[in-house]
């Protein structure tokens, strides 16, 4: 295994790979800094770009975007009280008051340092967690996979948000969408309605681009024309001072606490950066010596929020890469990118692609100091991005979406699919249906169905295999525990 690690490191330490990470981070911060473009959306739109690069460059590029956007989102949060990405909402609370006091520059610097540290922490956690799980890879046969995937599906129950029926319906829709295409076991065509494009199923990339990016654009378009076509008013960077060492040191513990919270929450499949951020913020406030400052311009508040949301960047990948269960929206998209590059996330990922994965880990870690550097040097540039009018941005985003869904398979049918899922996603979001269950169900169900049928064929129809094989049994028990916990914690939705 050591030789695989060394090989991976040598693949990673090339100028091309490192510059791809740098480009990704730059793109991520830029996109994150634009209010109305979330990191999820940017990743979805840029995934197709990564297809044309080798996996050791394309994936770090996307991961760079993921990292960069979590920091970039804090910039408009601080300057114009608008989160650039949803997880940056908590940063508005303390960042904007600081900017109003003329301390925008130091606030952004605090955000930068906290983001970098939080991210590094979770990257290390990812690396440490991945390896032991990878060692178990070969023990997973169809029966074990099914148990694992069932557990993945039950995790959905904990992400249903406020309305359980809506969350369940969302998951069921994902299930049905996933059923379109050729059935692996019998070769039957399901729900293709004669369209050739659908025989391979509804593509992950067009679906995600539509659901996350196009629907988001549509929601932005709802704003009044006067808002879309004017430049937003922004607080000034000028005159601010740099963050002092003393102020930074005071927030040390907060940053660490938030990093841990972000990593744990992020590692739970289905939860995203937003949840992690608020939990981190809340915990910091409770533990702080000056809780009354929170919400009025506390550096600790900024640190807590940013460290937590950046920690999610690495932690998201833990269940995604090791178990093949997406940790969140962006992770689902990244999973699609992995699959498209021929890397199959899940227990066998390291078995098959050891050096590639270690290269990717190396680049993940290298990305953090790069982000720090870019943040230091380029903050004025990013600050100006904040002021671009949405009326100009929106057509560019749509163009990216169209191009992205096209180059997936050189097929305009995929672009139509993206547009349709965009409409679908728009309706679902307006009616408060959560999208996370849909995506998770869509990804997991075809695999679960296949594993189930394979296991049945192998055992000649004996259902008890799932309970007699130890690994499978373990995951099924885990699934049951998760289900019970989530039902117990949920306030009952009274239907009487």
């Amino acid at each position: 295994m050591i030789d695989q690690i060394l090989e991976g490191i040598s693949i990673a330490l090339t100028w091309q790979a490192i510059s791809m990470v740098a480009v990704g981070i730059f793109a991520g911060i830029t996109v994150g800094a634009i209010p109305g473009l979330s990191g999820v959306m940017a990743t979805a739109v840029l995934v197709p770009f990564s297809f044309f690069m080798a996996p050791t460059m394309g994936i770090p590029f996307l991961l760079g975007i993921h990292k960069g956007s979590l920091f970039g989102g804090s910039i408009p949060a601080i300057l114009i009280n608008t989160p650039g990405t949803p997880p940056a909402a908590a940063t508005c609370l303390d960042g904007y008051p600081l900017a109003q006091k003329g301390e925008a520059k130091s606030a952004i610097q605090m955000s930068l340092y906290s983001s970098t540290l939080g991210d590094t922490f979770s990257d290390l956690a990812l690396i440490l967690a991945a390896i032991p799980i990878a060692a178990l890879a070969l023990k997973f046969g169809p029966t074990e996979f099914f148990g694992l995937l069932v557990m993945g599906l039950t995790v959905i129950s904990s992400v249903t948000g406020t309305s359980v029926p809506k969350g369940v319906i969302s998951a069921l829709l994902g299930l049905l969408i996933g059923a379109v295409g050729l059935d692996a076991i019998t070769g039957a065509e399901r729900f293709t309605f004669g369209f050739d494009t659908l025989q391979g199923g509804i593509g992950l990339v067009p679906l995600l681009i539509g659901l996350f990016a196009i629907s988001e654009v549509m929601i932005q378009v709802e704003k009044k024309i006067s808002i879309l076509s004017q430049k937003p008013a922004t607080a000034n960077l000028k005159g601010g001072r740099s963050l002092t060492m003393g102020e930074f040191k005071k927030s040390r513990r907060t940053i660490l606490r938030s990093a841990i919270i972000g990593t744990i929450v992020g590692a739970i499949p289905g939860t995203g950066a937003s949840i992690a951020t608020f939990i981190g913020y809340g915990a910091a406030k409770r533990a702080s010596k000056n809780p009354e400052e929170f919400g009025h311009g506390s550096y600790e508040g900024v640190a807590a929020a940013e460290s937590a949301n950046s920690a999610v960047a690495g932690a998201d990948l833990i269940p995604t890469l090791t178990l093949g269960i997406p940790g969140g929206g962006t992770a689902a998209i990244l999973m699609g990118a992995f699959i498209a590059q021929g890397l199959r996330p899940g227990p066998s990922l390291f078995e098959e692609n050891g050096p590639t994965m270690y290269a990717i880990f190396t680049l993940l870690l290298i990305g953090n100091p790069i982000m720090l550097l870019q943040g230091w040097l380029l903050t004025p540039f990013f600050a100006s991005i904040v002021t671009i009018r949405q009326a100009l941005l929106i057509p560019c985003i749509i163009l990216f979406c169209v191009v992205g869904s096209y180059i997936f398979h050189n097929n305009l049918g995929d672009v139509e699919l993206a547009l349709v899922s965009g409409a679908f996603g728009y309706v679902l979001r307006k009616l408060n249906f959560p999208l996370a269950p849909l995506v998770i169900a869509y990804i997991i169900t075809p695999m679960a169905e296949r594993s189930f049928k394979q296991a049945m064929l192998l055992s000649d129809g004996d259902y008890s295999v799932f309970f007699t094989k130890p690994i499978s049994l373990f995951f099924i028990i885990l699934a049951a525990i998760i289900l019970v916990l989530s039902v117990w914690k949920q306030p009952k939705v009274s239907a009487e």
Binding site: I169, M218, K223, P395, V403, A495
Partner: protein, 159 residues
Amino acid sequence: MRVGTISISVFFVLFSLVGYFYIIPAHIVTSIPIDASTPAVLHPDFFPRYTVVVLGLVSLVLLFSAIKDTSPEIPEPDRASARFRVGVVFVLTYLFIVGLKYFGFTLVAPLYMSVIIFFLGVRDWRYIISMALIFPVALSYSFWYSFSVIFPEGEIFLK
């Protein structure tokens, strides 16, 4: 939103019925005849059928809870024109895709960009021209140069 939730739950209930009785039997096509001895679980229609049943049931639950829900509605200002804008953008984007198929990217993309930018309120023609021309051209050129990827060329030009 209450009206919206009610209508969509009704839609899902109907969808489940149509799905169970029509779509599933009619649109699952097998090319090798399935052995009569294979247990029902292995048939291609097993999972979809039960999914659709559960969907119908849960939609009914949602329907009832939406009807009972008497909490105050958050007013959405300016709804009609918002929906109008969304609709227009959708239609324009669809036309864009059709245009791509026949006329290719280099012609249609700048046209589409200019229309949308104009529609969204920017009137200064300098911005419109520069964004609409430079951005698509830069995009397709950089894709060609760095990844050797060709954007749609338009059927009327290929034959």
